[in-house]
Symmetry: C2
Subunit: 233 residues, 2 copies
């Protein structure tokens, strides 16, 4: 039995969970669900290279009973500027210096903003995001200072914020290693075989094994001593 | 002849201008264009009640030579929660207390976020937004404290920010009255007949005359002593 998280009102805490279909967000959904929160999983059809991660997000959300799942369409491909939203830019298969070309300009700012809007409509008091600043690709919008700044913004941006009830931005795995995330999720029953982390997965979700995201994931399973369920192309 | 605004690099300053098709954003586009900036007008097809404002935005952008215009699709109707994105909520025709139902949760946060992404792809150093905190509808995300918080966020959210070149959020008319905005724009040659401010305009852009936005606009023309070119339904 999950405990039920209650707000001061006595109602269950509503949380919007950014759910990409990857390993990290599956884990934070499991954590919030176990804590008894009412979970509203939010995914984005933003013009990413493959749809496999959207299929994965739907599977992940369906695995946690009572979770409401919404996918918002948003055309970031119209802006481009990233290997993930412009087919003319290749996904790197070796580690690179600095911020890599898989960085999508302002993507997490955009995702959090739309989550903020949905949270306000729902009356949700929390937004959960699976950013990680340990085993990550070096994106600026995965760092604690970014999350803190977004929290400050949320407090002045919305009706709820102005009325003294700003939404809280929760990043439960930001300081965990990939191995620790995998251990925690495995204990909570996450089926990581449902998740897709690869930047250039095939349409049926098979991973390339060589992109930055695949390398971090494979190393995480190895370090955790957990069998890696990833399907490779 | 316009002056040419140059960055320290000697290149013209690139500015993303949020262009809604309304009176305020037409005026800020005129101001930036007159200042010699390279203007990138950005509009959103976000599921608003009518398309007339998108047609208006295209006309406004086309009136300022060299302006690049982009419309990004984004499904805020999937989230709802506002009279502008949910047909089940009527647009009020009388002034109301507090934040009105035409407020779209987190809309300006979302718009600025996508502008931030485009600015980064373009290498633009400025984002211009026509928010106004004098003659406005009381939305939380039109206030100076919101704009300041977004600027702080932008500085930590992007590659440009991390590299010491954060984009600047410019709100040139935030402290002006509607009448002063109309006077300034008229001097710059803005054709306000091209613009649509009404929350519930007809498909061909005729205004209702009774919503909050129509009332503020009509009062502005009256106070400015400028002939009002608005077409009413």
């Amino acid at each position: 039995m999950n405990q039920v998280a209650e707000a001061e009102s006595g109602q269950p805490v509503k949380a919007v969970i950014l759910t990409s279909g990857g390993l990290d967000s599956a884990t934070i959904l499991a954590l919030a669900h176990r804590a008894g929160k009412e979970c509203y999983a939010l995914s984005f059809d933003y013009g990413q290279r493959h749809r496999a991660e959207l299929d994965a997000a739907a599977k992940v959300a369906a695995a946690f009973e009572g979770t409401v799942h919404k996918t918002v369409r948003l055309d970031l491909r119209g802006i481009g500027g990233s290997a993930l939203t412009d087919d003319a830019i290749d996904v790197p298969t070796r580690p690179s210096e600095g911020i890599p070309v898989t960085y999508v300009p302002a993507r997490n700012t955009v995702f959090l903003s739309i989550a903020l809007g949905w949270a306000e409509v729902l009356g949700a008091s929390e937004i959960h995001m699976g950013v990680n600043a340990v085993d990550y690709s070096g994106y600026p919008d995965c760092r604690p200072e970014f999350i803190a700044a977004f929290g400050e913004l949320a407090a002045v941006a919305t009706k709820a914020g102005v009325e003294g009830n700003p939404v809280k931005i929760c990043t439960p795995i930001i300081a965990m290693s990939k191995a620790d995330i995998i251990v925690a999720g495995t204990e909570l029953g996450v089926n990581y075989g449902d998740t897709v982390s690869c930047y250039q997965a095939t349409d049926n979700g098979a991973a390339c094994g060589v992109c930055d995201s695949c390398r971090l994931r494979a190393q995480g399973f190895a370090d955790a001593g957990v069998a890696d369920p990833t399907r490779y192309a």
